[in-house]
């Protein structure tokens, strides 16, 4: 079952499972979810104003939330993107960071290939098409000996809206220059595969891809009461202006 919900909820659930996995309460977890409404998330260390086109997202009514993980700004299209989260003990992953990203991103690579897109891992944290255009980016956070890696799977994202959300004019470059530059570097699984890919197909491919890459038997489950309780108390943080403006 796909979990659809607003950005503060999705980020709170990811962090709650990370903390409870670290505490030995939650099991190893693969979450597949959709941001609804479409949203922008930014990395823990990013400057809000330097990473998001604030005037555009305000006008378009697109919420922005700061993640607990590092990495860059991301547009999550409710009609064209599935987000994955893998939560595991750090000890179950390679100690080298590139290798740890690569191992989990292998699930995304395999999913894309099942859908007809010849994908490959691009260090540190991207998955790209054969011509090097990105359709998946991932980020990690590490707490209490556990690792959360979450990332995008853009099966049919509206790439122009993505580019407008993330286009922050830099120096001599105008907003339209930046939009065009982003659009040249980004693609979708549908475009890569040369056919429309549905959300259902994307989810099924991700399940199979992660099961193979992590050599895991996936058992569908529900959130633990403790996970939901902690997520509820963490959600206030993700809703707060103070957290969003942590680095203005």
């Amino acid at each position: 079952m796909i979990d659809e919900g607003p950005p503060h909820y999705q980020m709170a659930v990811d962090e709650a499972i990370l903390l409870l996995r670290g505490a030995g309460v939650s099991p190893d977890t693969l979450r597949l979810y959709v941001f609804n409404p479409s949203s922008v998330t930014i990395g823990y260390f990013q400057s809000l104003r330097e990473s998001v086109n604030l005037s555009y997202v305000k006008e378009a009514g697109i919420p922005v939330v700061r993640r607990v993980s590092g990495g860059g700004s991301v547009y999550h299209d409710s009609c064209g993107e599935v987000t994955y989260a893998v939560i595991l003990p750090a000890g179950d992953l390679p100690s080298d960071y590139v290798e740890s990203f690569k191992l989990i991103c292998e699930g995304v690579v395999r999913a894309a290939r099942k859908l007809g897109c010849n994908a490959r891992f691009a260090p540190l944290n991207d998955v790209v098409s054969a011509d090097g255009r990105k359709f998946s980016g991932s980020a990690q956070a590490r707490r209490l000996g556990a690792v959360l890696q979450h990332g995008t799977f853009m099966y049919a994202t509206d790439v122009e809206t993505l580019a407008r959300c993330l286009s922050v004019p830099k120096g001599k470059y105008s907003e339209s220059d930046v939009v065009n530059a982003i659009m040249r570097r980004v693609t979708t699984v549908s475009a890569c595969a040369g056919r429309p890919v549905s959300r259902g197909e994307a989810i099924q491919a991700l399940r199979e891809g992660f099961a193979e890459a992590l050599d895991a038997e996936l058992v569908e489950g529900r959130y633990l009461p403790a996970e939901l309780e902690l997520a509820k108390s963490l959600a206030w943080k993700y809703r707060s202006g103070e957290w969003l403006e942590l680095r203005p």
Binding site: S47, S51, S69, G70, G71, S73, Y97, L124, A139, Q140
Partner: protein
């Protein structure tokens, strides 16, 4: 005044440090605040926030920024940025602070 330095190499993450400086009554160049931003990763992000607190109020010209940034990267376990980029960042911050502070007072 604010001085900023950043490093961005292909296939690496961005890390940027901005330092807000002011002049004390004694004419010293004082660190008012520090902002560390970018799309890098850190295993212990809270150490970066602690670092920011630790240098607030310090004599900017008297701080060994190269050593401090090296220690910060190791302590917070920054990844996605190479050691050589962090060294370059430290040197760049140090140079920018020296230029802004002149002989210890803001130029």
């Amino acid at each position: 005044m604010r001085v900023c330095s950043l490093v961005k190499r292909p296939s690496e993450k961005v890390i940027k440090i901005c330092i807000d400086l002011s002049v004390s009554r004694e004419g010293r160049c004082v660190v008012e605040g520090v902002q560390v931003t970018g799309d890098f990763f850190a295993e212990r992000p809270e150490r970066i926030d602690r670092f920011i607190e630790s240098v607030r109020g310090a004599d900017a010209a008297g701080v060994d920024w190269v050593r401090l940034i090296r220690e910060l990267a190791a302590d917070s376990r920054i990844y996605g940025v190479s050691d050589s980029s962090l060294e370059e960042l430290g040197a760049s911050v140090s140079k920018a602070v020296r230029k802004a502070c002149g002989g210890g007072t803001l130029a």
